[in-house]
């Protein structure tokens, strides 16, 4: 079994008004060293795959089919082998 930790974020060219709103809030709270905030999405997906390659292919497929809007978003992921 593999645990996939999948991070989805806006492409650099896409505005992130949620991140901007969080940045403004932090600056209002006095965190003046905070320079920028980007808000994205995080998924944990357990996958019953026999190999890391197979798990990796499944992650790429589910990202393409559902988790990521490729028009606006990109993604990266990490795989960890976990006990069944």
């Amino acid at each position: 079994m593999y645990l996939a930790q999948i991070y989805v974020h806006h492409k650099a060219s896409i505005l992130d008004p949620q991140g901007e709103a969080v940045l403004n809030a932090l600056q209002r709270l006095g965190y003046d060293k905070v320079d920028s905030v980007k808000q994205g999405k995080y998924f944990e997906v357990n996958i019953q795959a026999d190999s890391e390659d197979e798990a990796s292919k499944i992650v790429n497929d589910i990202a393409k089919d559902l988790l990521v809007n490729h028009n606006m978003e990109s993604f990266e992921f990490e795989l960890k082998e976990v006990a069944k």
Binding site: L15, P17, N69
Partner: protein
């Protein structure tokens, strides 16, 4: 003529759309649930606004997998009219029936207001009752109506006259002021503003009526 209005879990403008067709257009219309697997017998399909599936993941991302969407895709492929308004527009982009995506409004505010739109293309089955470049008043109500597409897609939209409506006073940050686009074949229209909320003077305006009348004329001819 018979139209289908699709009700997804979380649709909340389905009755507005239904009444617009039934009472203002005086045509047959059914509310069809998103579990339906067949749209045979309908001349056109209308996908209403709301928050289908709670807008989980992304607006429209889950609705795209509802059983009825296979039939919607078939109707689109057959050249029958498909109109998506607000969340309906978001669903059509997620389903790849229309190019581009809808992002959060740049203001981060949910905007509920009247908006002035310019009819950029009145040579479509949805807009031929409007004058060329006519400016119309149609309500908007959305938090994620900021239309985005890449430069290449934008160039294609322009080259094919697919930009049907633009905002006169861009409320949400949409690229090139885009409020509504059609597919290349011209039979699938998505728009954030709500024409079904502007079909009786008691609602504050009737500028949406010509869209439904255009559609009806097309289906009849």
């Amino acid at each position: 003529m018979k139209f289908a209005v699709i009700s997804f879990p979380g649709s909340n403008c389905d009755m507005d759309m239904y009444y617009a067709v039934r009472d203002s257009l005086n045509e047959d219309v059914d509310l069809v649930t998103s579990d339906a697997t067949n749209l045979d017998g309908y001349d056109g399909v209308l996908i209403p606004g709301g928050f289908s599936y709670g807008d989980y993941l992304r607006s429209g991302a889950v609705a795209r997998f509802a059983p009825v969407m296979e039939s919607v895709k078939e109707m689109a492929a057959e050249g029958k009219p498909v109109l998506g308004v607000c969340n309906g527009f978001q669903i059509l982009t997620e389903a790849n029936l229309l190019p581009g995506s809808l992002q959060h409004n740049t203001s981060m505010e949910f905007i509920s207001d009247w908006s002035k739109l310019r009819v950029q293309n009145n040579d479509t089955m949805f807009t031929d009752q409007y004058e060329e470049s006519e400016v119309i008043d149609i309500p908007i109500a959305h938090g994620e109506g900021n239309y985005y597409c890449d430069d290449e897609t934008l160039a294609q939209l322009k080259a094919n006259d697919q930009i049907v409506f633009t905002y006169e006073d861009n409320p949400n940050g949409s690229c090139d002021n885009i409020a509504g686009v059609v597919n290349e074949q011209g039979n699938v229209l998505g728009m954030m503003p709500h024409p079904e909320r502007a079909v009786e003077s008691i609602l504050g305006g009737t500028d949406g009526l010509k869209l439904f009348k255009s559609l009806l004329n097309h289906v009849r001819s």
